[in-house]
Amino acid sequence: MEYLLLQVLNGVQLGLLMFLLAAGLTLTLGIMDLVNLAHGSLYMMGAYIAWTLIGVTDSFVLGALLALPATFLLGVIVEAVVIRRLYARDHLTQVLATFGLILFFNELVRALWGPGGKSIAVPGFLNRTIEILPGVPYPAYRFAIIVVGAVVAILLAWLVARTRLGMLIRAGASNRRMIGALGVNIELLFTLVFGLGAVFAGLAGLMAAPIASVRIGMGDDILILALVIIVIGGIGSIKGAFIAAMIVGQIDIVGRAFLPDLLKTFMSSSAASSAAPAISQVLVYVLMAAVLVWRPTGLFGQRT
């Protein structure tokens, strides 16, 4: 029972990290109709910028807090210099250009921080385990990720549902041309949304950093999962991204924690232990395919 609870928490933690990444991606794709492959690079830049700022300030919390406006600024600059020119182009051009951005950022990191990875230590006050139930320890840092992720998710829900900016974002997601025609400064809105997406990606990157290490290309693998999540959730839907991220997080954990034992009941032990990671790797894509058959626009996508 405790074991199950811990594994569910592991899944929630993973899901929340991916939600932060997917939220920005679904906003840019849903509202700006922009395929941004370089979103994973913003995740990486968030982690590297945090590494530098934590070194300068000698405090994890302070460094992380300063890294957020820095990634926002970076997002705004990238939008103004490159992305803005892509809105009118077709998706293939966007894919090519943002793929170029990935290469650019990977080389930039190599030039600035070197080819070896960096590591961010878990802040002292979180470098221990807490008892989530009496006698059931859980790493405090992972618990902190869950708390921060949940708070950000609630803030984002409030922002989208209750504020004027959120209203414009929702309007943009359902009909971009119309809100432009109504006199909304669409350029400013796009810049803000892109910057916001960059902040979430950067936050995910810097929070993942003490668990994983900060390295070149760290955002490239996770970007694919984030894309799967927004397709499952429905492009442009924050709610969809959240629910899909939770599902994907749980599937990943189930695949790793329970599948080997399940397979061992009817397969040889060695066959089961090497088949399980292969199967759990494709489970997420099977889910995506199933959702697309059932609801082609995703769970919470706009019907067209």
């Binding site: 668990i211 790793r256 924690a257 080997p260």
Partner: protein, 392 residues
Amino acid sequence: MKNKLFGTATIAAVAALSLPAAAQSPIKIGFVSTFSGPQAAIGEDMRRSVELAKEHLGGKMGGKPFEIIYEDDQFKPDVGKARSEKLVQQDKVNFIAGYIWSNVLLASLKAVADEGDTIMISANAGPSQIAGELCNKNFFSTSWQNDQTPMAMGEYLNTKGVKSLYLVGPNYAAGKDMLAGVKRTYKGKIVSEDFTKWPDQLDFSAELTKIAAAKPDGIFIFYPGAHGVQFVKQWAQSGLNKTVPLYQVFSIDAITLPQQGDLAIGTLGAQEWVNDLPNEANKKYVEDFKKKHGVYPSYYGAQSYDAIMLMASAAEALKGDLSNKDKVRAEMKKANFKSVRGDFKFGNNNFPIENFYIQEAVKDPQGMMTVKTIATAVKNAVDPFAEKCPMK
């Protein structure tokens, strides 16, 4: 028939005429490793050691200058194969060395050793296939066969009385060899054997939670490079470092220790080479490496250094004339050089017959993380696949 003979004679004459020029042309060495992406730090350590070997040799082998052409496999088997083919066909190198990854080596073997008839030296990867049925007269190793290092660890765990072990490793050729290796010698109970997605899985929360629930006496891992950094960090964060000791192969080394830091202190691993092995060649290598780069070399580097020294020993014996490949192979097989691990012999499959040591992660007097030898696990070990190799 006559024409053909004439043709052969012409070629022979041209070859003879061009011999003096050939004697002047440098020996060419291809070196395939990972120089980009998350595992680039390993390739960099190997390159530094190769350059140091070149410096120690005065840039010459058997009186001839030599040049090294580095190629980046990008951590991908298909790219590694294409780069190896380029070295054989376009650069026409005399030797190809390097290869961190078993899957990259397996992909490149045929193109280099069979079709290219070029001598190949693995400075790290040691897949079971090449030690056994796929063994090749053109293939030499200055490292080990994958199973051997974990086998040494297994022997040590027996003597230490560790009663149960939980195995975790990545789901690819080397991961399977490593976990199979520890099972060959370890006599205690194997609680479970988990494989994780390779190379994209860097989060081990689910596995660590399983381990915590299973309460084994020890964890055995194989996670090279960046993955080893994550596993050790997450093991410590989960609090398991206080209850379940970590035993490892290739996961805590000179490359990962700066990032693992204090978390790794006290962990034990097995290795055929340690930076404090007491022999002259090793002292010179480690001291000069540290002087130049300010960090300790890793076994990846030591094996690369040995690979260059092995080539040099063959070139020395043949006075720089590498045209007769049978002679080159025969000289290589003698392993007539001062290895940084101490002297060793090649087995029938051209893998070293060598000692394995147990090393502990410690802080050196200057406060830098390193490893030190604490025991000899096995002496003159022959890998378990040598008998499957048809070569004598």
